[in-house]
C-alpha cells in the first residue's frame, strides 16, 4: 500500500513540472512587456529597462523558467505588484476561503449526486427516475452564476433566510454559525452542476453493474433488494464513479470563481480575476500553479481511495 502511494506521488512529479511549463509558456505568450504594464505607458525607457532587469526579464526564456521554478520550490512565488505583498501569502489566504466553499460543495455534490443516481437507476423509467433525470438536465444546463444571482434574489433579499454575500458578517462574531449561514447559498449554487453530472454518471454506472452476473448471484442468495442496490451494485459502480468525482472536484474548484464573484466570497478565483484585469502576472502565475498543484495532489488521494476500494488494482 505504502509502495503504491509512493509510486503515485512520484508519478505526479512530471505532471507537476508539466503544469509549471504550461503556465510559464502561456504567460510568456503575453504580448507587450510586463514592465510597461506595471509602470504605465508614460514610463521612460530607462525605467522600463531597469525594471525588466530587476524582474529578470532580460534573460532567456529558458533561464527565466528555471529561476522561477527554483524560487517557487523555495516557497518564493514572487511579489504581487498590485497588492505589494508576497504572492504565496495572498494565495494561501485566499485558497483557504476557496477550500471551505469548494470543499463543502464537493461533499454535497458527491453525496447527492451518487444517491440521486442510484435511486434513478433502481427505478429506471419510473416516476423517481423521470423526476431526477429532469432535475439533472435542469441542473447541468443552468449557469451557476445565474443560479447564484437568483438565489440571492429569492433567499437573501425576499425571504431573508441568508445573508446576501461575503464569508463573514461585517459586524458580529466570526463563529461557525455565521460561516454556515454565509456558506449555504454559495455552496449549493456551486454544487448544482456537478451534482447533475455525477447523478447522470452514477445512474449509467449503476445500470451497467446491475446487469452483471454477480448481481444475479446476490439475488439468488436471497439478499434483500435494498442490499442488492446499495451494497452490491453501488460498491461495484463506485469503481467507475470515483474517477468522475475526481474530475468533478476540478470543476468545483475552478468553477468556484463564478460563485466567488457573485457572492463576494474572498477566494482564490476572485483574486485571479482581479489579477487578470490588473495584469498582475506573478499573482496569476502563482495562483494557477498553486491551485493546479493542489488538484494534482487531490487526484492522487482519489487514486489511493480507488485502490482501497478495488483490490484488483495491484498495489
Amino acid at each position: 500500500m505504502t509502495g503504491y502511494i509512493l509510486k503515485r506521488i512520484l508519478s505526479a512529479i512530471p505532471v507537476l513540472l508539466g503544469i509549471t511549463v504550461i503556465v510559464f509558456l502561456i504567460m510568456a505568450l503575453i504580448p507587450g512587456d510586463p514592465a510597461t504594464a506595471i509602470l504605465g505607458s508614460y514610463a521612460t525607457p530607462e525605467n522600463v529597462a531597469r525594471l525588466n532587469r530587476d524582474l529578470g526579464l532580460d534573460k532567456s526564456l529558458f533561464q527565466q523558467y528555471f529561476i522561477w521554478l527554483g524560487n517557487m520550490l523555495q516557497g518564493d512565488f514572487g511579489t504581487s505588484f498590485a497588492l505589494n505583498r508576497p504572492v504565496l501569502d495572498e494565495v494561501l489566504e485566499r485558497f483557504n476561503a476557496t477550500l471551505v466553499l469548494a470543499g463543502t460543495a464537493f461533499v454535497m455534490c458527491s453525496l447527492l449526486g451518487v444517491i440521486a443516481g442510484v435511486i434513478s437507476a433502481a427505478n429506471q423509467y419510473g416516476l423517481a427516475d423521470k423526476a431526477i433525470t429532469f432535475a439533472v438536465l435542469l441542473g447541468i444546463s443552468v449557469p451557476s452564476f445565474f443560479l447564484g444571482m437568483m438565489m440571492i434574489l429569492l433567499f437573501a433579499v425576499n425571504l431573508r433566510w441568508f445573508p446576501v454575500s461575503g464569508m463573514w458578517p461585517i459586524y458580529g462574531a466570526r463563529d461557525f454559525g455565521a460561516l454556515l449561514s454565509h456558506l449555504t447559498m454559495p455552496a449549493i449554487a456551486l454544487a448544482v452542476v456537478a451534482t447533475g453530472v455525477i447523478a447522470r454518471l452514477s445512474r449509467s454506472a449503476m445500470l451497467e453493474v446491475l446487469r452483471q452476473d454477480f448481481i444475479r448471484t446476490a439475488r439468488a442468495k436471497g439478499v434483500h433488494e435494498r442490499g442488492v442496490i446499495w451494497r452490491h451494485a453501488l460498491k461495484a459502480a463506485m469503481v467507475s464513479i470515483i474517477p468522475v468525482l475526481g474530475i468533478q472536484a476540478g470543476f468545483v474548484l475552478s468553477g468556484a470563481v463564478y460563485i466567488e464573484i457573485v457572492f463576494q466570497w474572498p477566494g482564490v478565483g476572485r483574486m485571479l480575476v482581479d489579477a487578470i484585469l490588473k495584469r498582475d502576472i506573478l499573482l496569476v502565475q502563482g495562483g494557477v500553479v498553486f491551485v493546479a498543484a493542489c488538484y494534482v495532489m487531490f487526484n492522487i488521494a482519489v487514486d489511493v481511495l480507488q485502490s482501497l476500494l478495488d483490490p484488483r488494482i495491484k498495489t
Binding site: G222, V223, S254, I261, V273, A292, P311
Partner: protein, 627 residues
C-alpha cells in the same frame, strides 16, 4: 441518415429540444432584419424601464438600452462564439486524436502525455490562465474555451482511432499502397465522424456556458458589445433593485443550453447501438409474470414440480419463446439433469423457477413451479426473496463473474447466511469456515479473507457451492457449474456435489451440455431443444437407447476415450431461432429421417413408463442413428 433522424424524432424530449434550439437559432439569424431598437444606443433618462412597457417589450437596462434588442443581438453573439469554439475544439482535438491514434508508438506517447498534462488542470483555471495571457476580449475567450476542450476531443477520438487503425480494411488500404493521408481521410475519418458529432453535441452546451462565464467575469466580450454572459455581468450590480435585467439574459442562456443538452442526449441515444437493443435496461428484482392461461394445479409429483412453464423475451416488437411449455419434477435426494445445446432454454427454465430471469426483457407467460405445493411463479417478491437461497439455491457457471469482485469470499458467505437469519460476527465466521471445509477448500480459515480474483477457478466454484449450501436448502439448481473448469477440477467438483447430495438428501437440478457429466451424476435426464423437452427418462435408459433422433445425434458428438475410430458427427445446421419457430418438430430441418408429417401440427411428448419422447418416428436401437 433517415433512420437516424426518425429515431431522433421518436425521442420526444430531443425533438422538443431541437425545435426550441432551431427557433432560437432562427431568431438569431434574422435579428439584423427585425425592426429592433439599436442595442447600443443609450438613453439614461429611460433607465430600468420594467418589462412589457410601451416601446420596450422586455424593458431597458441601466443605460436605458432596449433589452429585447440587446437580448437578441447577445444571443446571436453567444451562439456564434459557442458554436465556433465547439468547431475549433472538435477540429483540432480530432486532428490530434487521429494522428496520435493512427501513428501510435512514440508520436502517440508524446501527444498523449501533453494531453494528460492539460487535463491535469482544473478546467476553468486553464481558461483563465489563457485569457490572462491573451488579455480580455471575446475572441480570446473563444480561444481559451476551445483550447481547454481540445484535450477532451483528442482523448476520445484517439481511443476510437486506435480501434479502427488495426481493422482489416485499414490494413487492406495500406497494402494497396495508399498514402497515410489518404487512408486517414478516406478510411479513418468517416468512421470517427459519428463520435465527433456525439462529443460535440454533448460539449457544445458546456462551451456556450463557459464563454458566457468568461464574459460574465468581464474577461470576454467588452462593452458596448455584449453577449449573454456580459449582459448578466453588467446587470449584476442592479440585481436587487431591477432583477429583470438579470433574469432576461439568464433565462436565455438556460433555454439555449437546456435545448442543446436535450438534443445532444437524443443524438447520443440515437447513435448508441446499446440503447437501441435495450441492453441498458436494469433487470428487476424478480422476473415479470404475465400468465395468460390458467395456472396448472399441483399433482404432488416430486419436491419441485414445474408444469407447462413458458418464458419469453420481449425485445421491441419481437417475442423470443425461450421456454415453450416445460414440465419437470425432482424428488428429494434425486439429481435431474437438463441437457441441451446453448440457446435450448435450459438455463432460462432453471432461472424462471426463482424469478431470476432478467426482466426486462424476460417475461414468464405461463405455467407453474410448485415447491412443496406452493406456486413460486405467482409468488410475491417478498416470498420469493425469502425462499431464494434458503429453500432453493443456485450455483452458476462462471464463478469469476458471479462472485462479487470487491468483497472477500468469507463476507459473501456470511451475507448469504445473514440474508435469512441473524448471525453474530464470530458465529458467521465460524460457519463460513465450516462451509468452505465442507466443499474441501484447504486452509479454509485463511481463505475466507481472499478476494475472488485471488483464487483459482476450481476454488472459486467451490466457494459458489459453499454459498449455495449456506442455508441448507432442499434443492440446488446448478447451471453449468463445471463448464468453465478444466477436467480434473471438474471431476472434483462433481464428486463434491454427489457427496453432498447423498449426505444431505439434496435434490439437484443439474444443467449441462455434457453427456459425460450427466452419466456421472444424474439419476434422470431431460433433453431440451428449442425451448422444449424432447426426451426424458432414467439416465441409464437414455444413454443406452436414445429414442429422439436429436438425443442420439447429440450423443454421437461426444468423443469417447478409447472408444475406437468412430466418426464424430457434428449436427449440421443450427437450432431454429426462437422468435420464428417452425410448425411441427423444431428439429425437423436438421433431422436425417424427417418425414412430411413431422412439419405439421404440434408433436406431443409421449410417455411410456418412466420415459417420454417428443417424436413421431423414435429411434429403435441405441447406436443405429449414429452409425
Amino acid at each position: 441518415m433517415i433512420a437516424f433522424l426518425s429515431l431522433l424524432a421518436r425521442n420526444r424530449l430531443a425533438l422538443a429540444g431541437g425545435i426550441v434550439l432551431s427557433a432560437v437559432v432562427l431568431l438569431a439569424l434574422v435579428t439584423p432584419l427585425l425592426p429592433l431598437a439599436d442595442p447600443d444606443v443609450t438613453n439614461t433618462s429611460n433607465r430600468f424601464v420594467p418589462p412589457f412597457s410601451e416601446g420596450a417589450l422586455l424593458g431597458t437596462d441601466h443605460l436605458g438600452r432596449d433589452l429585447l434588442s440587446r437580448l437578441l443581438w447577445g444571443t446571436r453573439l453567444s451562439l456564434a462564439v459557442g458554436f465556433a469554439a465547439a468547431i475549433v475544439a472538435a477540429t483540432i482535438g480530432a486532428a490530434i486524436g487521429i494522428i496520435a491514434g493512427y501513428y501510435g508508438g512514440r508520436t502517440d506517447n508524446v501527444i498523449m502525455r501533453g494531453v494528460d498534462m492539460l487535463m491535469a488542470f482544473p478546467y476553468i483555471l486553464l481558461a483563465l490562465a489563457i485569457v490572462a495571457a491573451l488579455g480580455p476580449g471575446l475572441f480570446n475567450a473563444l480561444i481559451a474555451v476551445a483550447a481547454v476542450n481540445v484535450p477532451f476531443f483528442a482523448r476520445n477520438i484517439r481511443g476510437i482511432t486506435v480501434g479502427i487503425a488495426h481493422k482489416e480494411f485499414v490494413d487492406a488500404a495500406r497494402l494497396a499502397g495508399l498514402s497515410n493521408t489518404r487512408i486517414i481521410l478516406s478510411e479513418i475519418l468517416p468512421n470517427v465522424i459519428p463520435v465527433i458529432v456525439i462529443a460535440m453535441s454533448t460539449t457544445i452546451g458546456w462551451m456556450i456556458l463557459e464563454t458566457a462565464g468568461l464574459s460574465f467575469l468581464g474577461l470576454g466580450s467588452q462593452p458596448p458589445q455584449a453577449d449573454l454572459g456580459s449582459m448578466l455581468g453588467e446587470a449584476r450590480s442592479a440585481l436587487i433593485t431591477n432583477p429583470h435585467t438579470s433574469v432576461v439574459p439568464g433565462i436565455m442562456i438556460l433555454v439555449i443550453v437546456m435545448s442543446i443538452n436535450l438534443l445532444g442526449d437524443g443524438v447520443r441515444d440515437a447513435l448508441d447501438p446499446r440503447l437501441k437493443s435495450g441492453a441498458l435496461s436494469r433487470p428487476m428484482a424478480a422476473t415479470q409474470v404475465k400468465r395468460a392461461g390458467p395456472v396448472p394445479a399441483p399433482t404432488g409429483k416430486g419436491l419441485l414440480e414445474v408444469q407447462a412453464l413458458e418464458t419469453q423475451f420481449h425485445v421491441k416488437d419481437r417475442i423470443y419463446r425461450a421456454v415453450g411449455g416445460v414440465d419437470l419434477h425432482v424428488e428429494k435426494g434425486e439429481c435431474l439433469g437438463i441437457i441441451g445445446e446453448s440457446g435450448s432454454g435450459k438455463s432460462v427454465t432453471a432461472l424462471s423457477i426463482m424469478g431470476l430471469v432478467s426482466s426486462p426483457p424476460g417475461v414468464i407467460t405461463g405455467g407453474a413451479a410448485h415447491y412443496d405445493g406452493e406456486d413460486l411463479i405467482g409468488a410475491p417478491y417478498r416470498r420469493l426473496r425469502d425462499m431464494r437461497g434458503r429453500n432453493v439455491s443456485y450455483i452458476f457457471q462462471d464463478p469469476l463473474a458471479t462472485l462479487h469482485p470487491l468483497y472477500r469470499v468469507g463476507d459473501q458467505l456470511i451475507e448469504a447466511i445473514r440474508a435469512h437469519r441473524p448471525i453474530g460476527k464470530e458465529a458467521g465466521r465460524a460457519k463460513a469456515v465450516e462451509l468452505l471445509d465442507a466443499v474441501r477448500i484447504p486452509n479454509a480459515a485463511k481463505r475466507i479473507t481472499d478476494y475472488p480474483h485471488e483464487m483459482s477457478g476450481g476454488m472459486r466454484q467451490r466457494v459458489g457451492i459453499a454459498m449455495a449450501l449456506a442455508n441448507d436448502p432442499d434443492i440446488i439448481i446448478a447451471d453449468e457449474p463445471t463448464t468453465a473448469l478444466d477436467v480434473t477440477v471438474q471431476a472434483q467438483v462433481l464428486t463434491i456435489l454427489d457427496d453432498l447430495r447423498r449426505s444431505r438428501g439434496l435434490a439437484i437440478i443439474f444443467i449441462t451440455h455434457d453427456f459425460g457429466v450427466v452419466a456421472q451424476l444424474c439419476d434422470r435426464v431431460a433433453v431440451m431443444y428449442a425451448g422444449r423437452i424432447v426426451e426424458e427418462g432414467r439416465t441409464t435408459d437414455i444413454l443406452d437407447t436414445p429414442r429422439h433422433p436429436y438425443t442420439a445425434r447429440l450423443m454421437a458428438c461426444v468423443p469417447e476415450l478409447g472408444g475406437g475410430k468412430r466418426r464424430l458427427e457434428a449436427i449440421a445446421g443450427l437450432p431454429p431461432v426462437v422468435d420464428r419457430l417452425p410448425q411441427g418438430c423444431a428439429f425437423a430441418d436438421r433431422c436425417l429421417k424427417v418425414q412430411d408429417d413431422c412439419r405439421q401440427g404440434d408433436i406431443p411428448l409421449v410417455r411410456s413408463g418412466a420415459r417420454a419422447v417428443r417424436c413421431l418416428y423414435p429411434e429403435e436401437k441405441a447406436r443405429e442413428a449414429a452409425e
